[in-house]
Symmetry: C2
């Protein structure tokens, strides 16, 4: 009888642990969508200017559906979607641009890559908000805003070198 | 002599092509930093509420340095950083919250996972802006805002099932 009770307790514990784990989110996300005012302009910046691969604007056949997807590594995507359509889709109010909402960090393998990417972005139409310089945390970094005001940080951090 | 000239031309063309490619960005980013008003509150939401792994607040020894990093798959990170510190670091003005700047997409493998993640987020303190429902593009999705107003879309898209 005591064995049966023990089995029940172990079974409950395993199920409880499983359910708890199962209910948590996995440590990932799949798509980062940037709200934009001008799809064509942002597409040109990211594709022609920075070189990100895409099939261009898709979904025009749907009302509120036009979007751009850039294929990133590991099955991830960067997307562009009108701020108005995002407000409609998520049932929220449309807000003015706000550059302190996020920063997209792009880590490089060698320090001088920071300079070359910053130059590339500026040539593509980005606004440099902070030229590349030594960072307070020990690395080397600079910031720019894309044509729609989204912030990118290009950084060389010896503690976080991309693996591939 | 004509062979030498041909070799020089080919070599130049290869180098030019290589340099051009080398100057483009790779199709990736490493860190998504969310600007927040209250690090502790957002840490609690993402770690205790959603289950993302972290070592908590680090960098307090630096002025403007306090931040939280969550380890994601494939070497990526989700970070939390004060909006004021982000404005200081990137040399930009601090803006009010604006939920139409981005949406973070979390794709699931099975349709009913959308419901369970939405419930989990709501329990953790998220604001549901759009309950899970059939999407115009054929899948099933819902939106919520984190305690700092950042938008997440939890979606089941049969065309984009996460691989791992």
């Amino acid at each position: 009888m005591s064995l049966l009770v023990a089995c029940c307790i172990i079974s409950f514990a395993i199920n409880h642990k499983y359910n708890k784990l199962n209910k948590m989110m996995e440590s990932r996300f799949t798509v980062l969508t940037l709200g934009v005012d001008d799809l064509e302009k942002s597409l040109k910046f990211y594709h022609d200017g920075l070189g990100l691969p895409t099939n261009g604007i898709i979904g025009k056949e749907f009302e509120h559906g036009a979007a751009v997807f850039f294929d990133l590594k590991h099955g991830m995507k960067l997307a562009l979607y009108s701020r108005s359509d995002l407000a409609w889709d998520a049932k929220i109010s449309k807000h003015p641009r706000a550059a302190t909402e996020i920063s997209i960090g792009y880590n490089v393998r060698k320090k001088d890559e920071v300079d070359s990417i910053m130059k590339l972005a500026q040539k593509a139409g980005a606004t440099i908000t902070k030229p590349a310089q030594k960072a307070f945390w020990g690395g080397y970094s600079g910031y720019f805003k894309d044509p729609d005001g989204h912030l990118w940080e290009i950084l060389w951090n010896p503690q976080l070198i991309p693996e591939d």
